[in-house]
């Protein structure tokens, strides 16, 4: 077990080096310049330009730039080319908001996805299952931004749910509780929109894996033992149907950090998605490469995490 984890972590480090190499060249070779001013701006003197290039090592050959970048990435000395703030600070400023939103969305996806998937498998073929299937495909197919605007139009008007930012501005909160409730309230709409597609896909996966499991011989054995349908379902069938759920957890993990550009823009939510999007538009190389590496790390950790969970759930899975 331990040797498996260590070996996977070792492999991940090699992979991360490869990823850093490839993403560095893709990012720097993309057309456009990282200058914080227009390239043709006549007010900027060649000296200022040269100073900027020197500061960010843009005057060096690419392979040396890559070396410097790698060094700064590890020592945490990378600075934004835009406002000269440390990249780590810009990211940690945004991280709590993104974490809160995505943890919420993942909780929604997994819990409601599991419930609806179970329900569909149990009542497969009847009108409830059919309408659930229809809704699932609808939410998988409809773009998130469109649903967002519909929700904004209806819920804001009739329920008064807030849509901008992480908390109400210009209000004195009498205590911490009201502040946190206000934040939670702000989280609702973006979290729901973010999780809709997740709920739909999770429930579809779980439904089909559950239907498959319910056909297994050991389910007949469990019923022949005289167990109640609830025990048969939750103890004997569910644990054998968890694979897609675990895969889902592994795949959702990276989104904890990376955020979502579209949803954050619509709800003016100050998360990592916005940060990344801005950085792409401004060719802010240090931020882009850092975000890229963080997401890559999360993907690799997510995979490792699901592999460990598989082994935990199913004794036949051996980690070697």
């Amino acid at each position: 077990m331990l040797s498996f984890i260590l070996r996977r972590l070792g492999l991940s480090i090699i992979l991360l080096f490869l990823i850093s190499f490839i993403s560095f060249f893709i990012i720097t070779l993309t057309p456009g310049s990282p200058y914080p001013w227009g390239e043709m701006n006549p007010k900027i003197s060649p000296e200022v330009k040269a100073a900027f290039r020197k500061k960010f090592h843009l005057d060096l050959p690419l392979y040396q730039q890559y070396e410097m970048m790698l060094h700064d990435l590890f020592t945490g000395e990378l600075r934004s080319m835009k406002d000269d703030l440390p990249v780590m600070k810009k990211i940690t400023d945004r991280l709590p908001a993104t974490l809160a939103l995505n943890i919420m969305a993942i909780l929604f996806s997994l819990s409601f996805g599991t419930l609806l998937g179970l329900y569909g498998a149990l009542y497969r073929g009847n009108w409830k299952d059919m309408s659930l299937s229809f809704l699932s495909f609808l939410f998988i197919a409809l773009p998130g931004f469109w649903i967002s605007y519909l929700l904004v139009l209806t819920l804001v008007k009739y329920v008064g749910i807030p849509i901008l930012g992480t908390q109400s501005y210009g209000i004195e909160f009498p205590n911490h509780l009201t502040l946190w409730l206000d934040r939670l309230w702000h989280l609702m709409l973006p979290a729901i929109v973010l999780s809709l597609a997740g709920i739909a896909t999770q429930s579809r996966y779980l439904r089909s894996s559950m239907i498959e499991t319910l056909r297994e011989n050991y389910i007949l054995t469990a019923r022949a033992k005289g167990l109640s349908p609830t025990v048969v379902l939750y103890q004997h069938a569910l644990r054998n149907s968890l694979r897609p759920l675990i895969t889902g957890i592994g795949m959702l993990l990276p989104s904890l950090i990376s955020g979502s550009v579209i949803i954050e823009t619509i709800f003016a939510y100050p998360g990592m998605g916005q940060l990344g999007y801005q950085a792409v538009l401004e060719r802010d190389y240090p931020i882009l490469i850092t975000l890229n590496m963080i997401v890559a790390t999360m993907v690799l950790l997510g995979n490792l995490f699901s592999d460990l969970l598989y082994a935990l759930v199913d004794p036949r899975v051996r980690l070697e």
């Binding site: 297994e216 050991y218 007949l220 033992k225 167990l227 004997h236 199913d314």
Partner: protein, 280 residues
């Protein structure tokens, strides 16, 4: 005035169909069987003859839909199991009528240990047992499993096919059921293990005075194990009687054909017998 005790198990005119595309395809037609306490009844027939459907129907284990219970009665000590509410029926399943299925490798839940699957049975049907581990070990020993103590923590995939089937039998018997239904218990095993399991069943039958229904497609294995035999074909019983009589003097051509299919050591045949087309 004499009160006649109801027979142990009496199946009267049982008919079952499977619904497919709005039609109901008959699987069991008008089957009637009687089983006395302490006896073993073998139901014999080829795949699709309705023998398994009959066995599963006894405690309504056939999922409905697609199965349709079209008519008949299944009287167990005088109680009609087909008319019993699902909740009351659950006390019969496992507790009074226990099953052993064909493929032990897929009939045990792969993610739970032997101990937890057997303990589940005991907790459900024998709440009076306090030392569950000791009781499990006792039954594992009874079915001929060596080192039963070490098997407790094993998962099904860590046991051989024969061991898995022994665990299934131990699990079914541990609830001390009145009736054991063994649905092709040896089909998925190789021949030497088949012989061992059959010998085990024979031994348990004598020791515990078990009442048993043995479902098989293999007429060769029922001699010395079953008192009565019912031969099923296309969902109906074509021949029914004491085992020796049916084996010695088969009446129905289908039974004769089935018997002819058993290869013998003392004859030289180029080709094995098959069932004639008109009989199928």
């Amino acid at each position: 005035m004499t009160t006649t005790e109801p027979p142990f198990l009496e199946i009267k005119n049982l008919s079952i169909g499977f619904s497919a595309n709005e039609k109901v395809i008959p699987a069991v037609r008008n089957v009637s069987l009687t089983l006395n306490k302490g006896e073993t009844l073998a139901i014999v027939g080829e795949s699709g003859s309705g023998k398994s459907a009959t066995a599963l129907a006894i405690t309504r284990l056939l999922a409905s839909p697609p199965a349709v219970y079209q008519g008949g009665q299944i009287l167990f000590n005088g109680v009609d199991l087909l008319a019993l509410p699902e909740k009351e029926l659950r006390a019969y399943r496992g507790g009074r009528i226990a099953y052993v299925f064909q493929e032990a490798s897929t009939s045990l839940n792969p993610v739970y240990t032997i101990r937890s699957q057997m303990a589940e049975m005991l907790r459900l049907h024998r709440p009076e047992v306090h030392n569950i581990d000791a009781e499990i070990i006792r039954w594992l020993e009874m079915v001929g499993i060596t080192n039963p103590k070490e098997r407790l923590k094993a998962y099904p995939h860590q046991l051989s096919g024969g061991m898995q089937q022994r665990v299934m039998i131990a699990m079914a018997l541990s609830a001390q059921p009145d009736l054991l239904i063994a649905d092709e218990p040896t089909t998925a095993l190789d021949v030497t293990i088949q012989a061992q399991i059959l010998a085990q069943l024979r031994k348990l039958e004598k020791e515990l005075g078990m009442t048993m229904i043995l479902i098989t497609h293999n007429l060769a294995i029922i001699r010395g194990l079953a008192h009565q035999v019912a031969v099923m074909h296309h969902g109906s019983i074509v021949e029914y009687g004491p085992t020796e009589e049916v084996l010695q003097h088969p009446q129905h051509p289908y039974t004769k054909a089935l018997l002819a299919c058993i290869p013998r050591l003392d004859e030289h045949r180029r080709r094995l017998s098959t069932i004639e087309k008109e009989l199928q």
